[in-house]
């Protein structure tokens, strides 16, 4: 029973999806708007439950479902970000969808399922659960991206996202298989424990390869360069509320799991003495994303594409934060997530949902062109939308007194604190590139406020639900910038829980031979590793595992 209570937010989200499906059948054509409120209500209940569970330490210590979930502050923090983005996206869709010819109510149920998957993803500590979460989240999104029936762009976006997402999933599975092959376990904590116990006995290449594969798969999901090519097309083609959800929730969830997997695996002693560490990979992705995102956005003329490049650039900043790990309090020598990163993701999610939200409330039936000219005169004709756009875009640009400024400031502060010697040039690069990005953010404001439309101005969709959603983003963006105390604390707690405590149970005093690891090991667990090794080294005989502590065989 307590197991079910502990995952009640997940259950509520899934049930919301089912309920919305049922209600969709009962509701008549053109009266699907209330489904948005039902969805939002379900997410709100889930959010409150998640908060209460977070505040109840008992719920966190008990191992649920054989430990495939970690119901810890890390999971709940990101679950709240996902729920918030999902709820706002649902409200934005309420009047956007009918206007754009998306008549059915399936948007809301798919959104609820996608949120369920994303929450599963952020609480997962086991590679299978993680994969399940990722697929539930992504499959719903593929459909959602293609859900605009009249638009070829939307179909293209869905197809592109599906194909590339499928490849990314394959990478993730392959990485999981490598890890299973190396250790015989799927739980991240178990994997690390076994790797630590076996020491040089495992083939480090398997684990290193697995990390590379996982970074590729998750790098795709967070839209980091060089795996970012889908981002502008999919962001542009998908219905705008869905784009908002993708930019806000999916990025947060993918970063949460990227940080958890990589940081937990980094505790395994297989990365010592390497020329390229997982940290270097992250730094490389970060620099590439910052350069691509900030520079390529300058030449764009479509607001949705500009925001897509902004999303890539922000992925770069966040990766810099993931790279600059911090000490886990109370456990010297263990590195955990930089506590600026969860806050940054929250601030980014709120701002980007706000910016896409304004776009979602613009335009009339069938029109999907979101070029800069289309927002000309927005500030004068629709002052409320104009202010929401101004606040969101300036927050993305990182100007005070908005959440984006504080997030960026806090991120760079913590990156420099964590790694004062090496990180200074990267931080300087990041702030200089953020000036480049400022150019395209200013262009959005410039069109919205300084120009008048050439032809007829674009009408705004009258939407109470959308207005409420935008008001929430504006208020939150201001609150995150001026009074961020609670959010910073929550972010810190979440980050401290990111790396999984493999040492929670007493470690064996003497590193015992691999076979005596506490968990019952599946049959033939070492075989895949050995098979791969012999595959790689041809017919050469491998040293027997018992020869520990011989160094790992050098590659031919």
């Amino acid at each position: 029973m307590s197991d079910l209570l502990a995952i009640s937010p997940l259950i509520v989200c899934a049930v919301t999806g089912l309920l919305v499906m049922a209600l969709d059948l009962l509701a008549g054509e053109g009266r699907k708007g209330f489904l948005a409120w039902v969805t939002m209500g379900g997410f709100a209940v889930a959010g409150v439950l998640a908060y209460l569970l977070w505040r109840t330490p008992v719920a966190l210590t008990h191992p649920f479902f054989s430990g495939v979930f970690a119901l810890d502050p890390h999971g709940w923090f990101f679950a709240e970000v996902v729920l918030l983005s999902g709820g706002l996206a649902a409200l934005l869709a309420a009047d956007h969808n009918p206007e754009q010819g998306i008549q059915g109510g399936e948007t809301y149920s798919l959104l609820a399922f996608s949120v369920t998957g994303a929450i599963l993803l952020v609480v997962a500590t086991d590679l299978i659960t993680l994969f399940l979460g990722l697929e539930i989240m992504s499959l719903s999104l593929y459909v959602l991206a293609a859900s605009k029936p009249t638009s070829a762009f939307s179909a293209e976006a869905g197809m592109k996202y599906f194909l590339l997402g499928g490849v990314a999933s394959a990478f993730l599975l392959m990485g999981a298989a490598f890890l299973y092959g190396a250790t015989g376990h799927l739980g991240l904590a178990d994997i690390v424990r076994v790797l630590a116990a076996k020491g040089a006995d495992t083939d480090p290449l398997l684990v290193q390869g697995a990390v590379v594969l996982l970074v590729v798969a998750l790098g795709f999901k967070v839209a980091a360069a060089p795996f970012h090519f889908w981002t502008p097309d999919v962001y542009e083609g998908a219905p705008t509320p869905i784009t908002a959800f993708m930019a806000g929730a999916v990025k947060a969830a993918a970063f949460a799991v990227l940080a958890r997997v990589l940081l937990t695996l980094s505790r395994a002693p297989v990365f010592t003495g390497l020329d390229v560490t997982p940290g270097d990979l992250l730094l490389g992705l970060s620099v590439l994303s910052m350069i691509f995102g900030n520079v390529m956005g300058v030449v764009q003329t479509n607001v949705k594409r500009i925001l897509a490049y902004s999303s890539i650039a922000h992925a770069g900043y966040i990766l810099l934060g993931v790279w600059a790990t911090q000490n886990l309090e109370g456990t010297p020598g263990v590195q955990t997530l930089n506590d600026a990163v969860p806050f940054y993701l929250l601030a980014y999610a709120v701002a980007t949902v706000g910016a896409f939200g304004v776009l979602a409330l613009l335009g009339r039936a069938g029109e999907e062109d979101m070029s800069l000219d289309r927002i000309a005169g927005l500030g004068r004709r629709h002052p409320a939308l104009g202010v929401a756009l101004l606040v969101s875009v300036l927050s993305l640009a990182g100007l005070p007194p908005l959440g984006g400024f504080l997030a960026k400031f806090n991120l760079f502060r913590q990156v420099l604190t964590a790694n004062p010697g090496t990180s200074l040039p990267w931080v300087v690069l990041a702030v200089l590139l953020s000036v480049v990005a400022l150019y395209y953010y200013l262009r959005i404001i410039l069109y919205a406020f300084f120009r008048e439309p050439e032809g007829e101005p674009v009408p705004a969709i009258a939407s109470r639900a959308g207005g409420i959603a935008l008001a929430v983003t504006v208020i939150l963006t201001l609150a995150l910038g001026v009074a961020p105390g609670v959010f910073l604390d929550a972010s810190h707690t979440a980050a401290q829980a990111t790396v999984l405590a493999a040492d929670a149970r007493p470690a064996p005093a003497v590193p015992a031979p691999a076979a005596s690891a506490p968990a019952p090991r599946p049959r033939g667990d070492a075989d895949p590793a050995r098979m791969l090794r012999s595959f790689q080294t041809g017919s050469r005989r491998m040293p027997v595992p018992a020869e520990r502590p011989a160094p790992p065989p050098s590659r031919p």
Binding site: F405, V428, L432, F450, L488
Partner: protein, 525 residues
Amino acid sequence: MGIETRAITPFLTMTLVLPLLGALLLAMIPADRARAHRAVSLVASLGAFLASLSIWVNFNPALAGFQLVEDHAWMAFGARYTVGVDGINLLLVMLTTVLTPLTILSTFGAIQKRTREFHIAMLVLETSMLGTLLAMDMLLFFFFWEIMLVPMYLIIGIWGGERRIYAAVKFFLYTTIGSVLMFVGIIYLYIQGGSTSFAYLDALKTGLDLQQQFWLFAAFGLAFAIKVPLFPFHTWLPDAHVEAPTAGSVILAGVLLKMGTYGFLRFAIPLFPDAAGTFGMPIMLLAVIGIVYGSFVAWAQDDIKKLVAYSSVAHLGFVMLGMFALTAEAVQGSILQMVNHGVSTGGLFLLVGVLYERRHTRLIAAYGGIAKPMKVFAFFMVVITLSSIGLPGTNGFVGEFLILAGTFREALSTGGDAGTAMLVMGIVASTGVVLGAIYMLTMVRKVLFGPITHAENANLPDVTFREGFVLGTLVVLVFWIGIFPNVFLSRTTASVGALIDTCKGRTVLHRLADLPAAPDGEVYR
């Protein structure tokens, strides 16, 4: 330096918050009620002025450190809401609170479209400028420093002239490039000081070796030099000034540019005194180049507003020169000259605005002989021009005299090659005074006197009561500062003295001389 008195009544916060409250109130008034917008805006800025008067009254000139300090926890990692006033920012705060209501008053005729948004921008701008001046916490300072850009960007971009969009973007990007490096510098300084506090007073105690000081000064200095603007970082200024509406130009020249010079005086020089010594000569050289270059370029302009814009480059060159001479007279003169420049250049922009509203052109050639139809206007223009070129009896004279006197004294007491170089720079700068007289008086002659060459100028209406009130207030300030400069200077003496003592006493070299030799020749931290 330290905290001298804490506030019993939060005058500083009141001054800061009143414009912001006005802006919030404005946001609730419907868009078509232009008269209500103007009234609220004026009342809010006058409220800030009254609150700042109580700062002036409660300010104790004998104290060197910060007074009326308010200090509240803000963020857990060491950023606090700390504001305070001392002899260095007091005059600039007063300048801001005086100039803003006058500017708002001057826009009642000129700004007819989107009045609500305009006045919100003006009031937010006032709060951010005051916050930048009053902040005693580095993060709070940067916070306000960056906020300042947005309303000014909107003011230039929405209510500006033909090429307003280009000018607005250029203004924003230029100033941001400078400030992002300062942003990293502030974080670096925080980490260097033990990652516990962003307080300015703690930052002063941070031990930095010469190399760190060099780079931090470069980061801070670039941000401030662009804002001042110091030659060769001045290219955004003429564009911004020419395209901005009159009110934008007045605030830009009057207050916003002072944030750069103030930043040098408050942060760059006392925080990194050794680097300030290293950079001092090059910066003084650039300042002198700016004086001469700005004067010649101003001379060549046929657009009055451009002429005034380039004269700003020259005038701020004087301010920079005085600051880096780092003697009591020169620094006090610099502070006073910041105020003077705000009054006289602000006044000149207002005068140009008055003309532009009547004739919709700013070309010198379009005027001539308008002293006849516009007698009162001619009086104001002559007085403010004379103050701008520093005629004795006006405010400009006091500032320029103190700066040059201080520079020469420092040059003579330094001696050697450096002294000679400084002496030469002082002499070249003095020619700037003459050049200023030439181009300003030429412009005034062409605009006001001579025969009326354009028929439409013959019947130009003279200044209205409202315009006369705005300009008259500035003229009163011109003579008040010019004849009784001690009212203002005496309030800066203690703080400037302390500043110079800290700078000269805090340098690594001085401390090395005072302390027993450190092992391995290490620098004491």
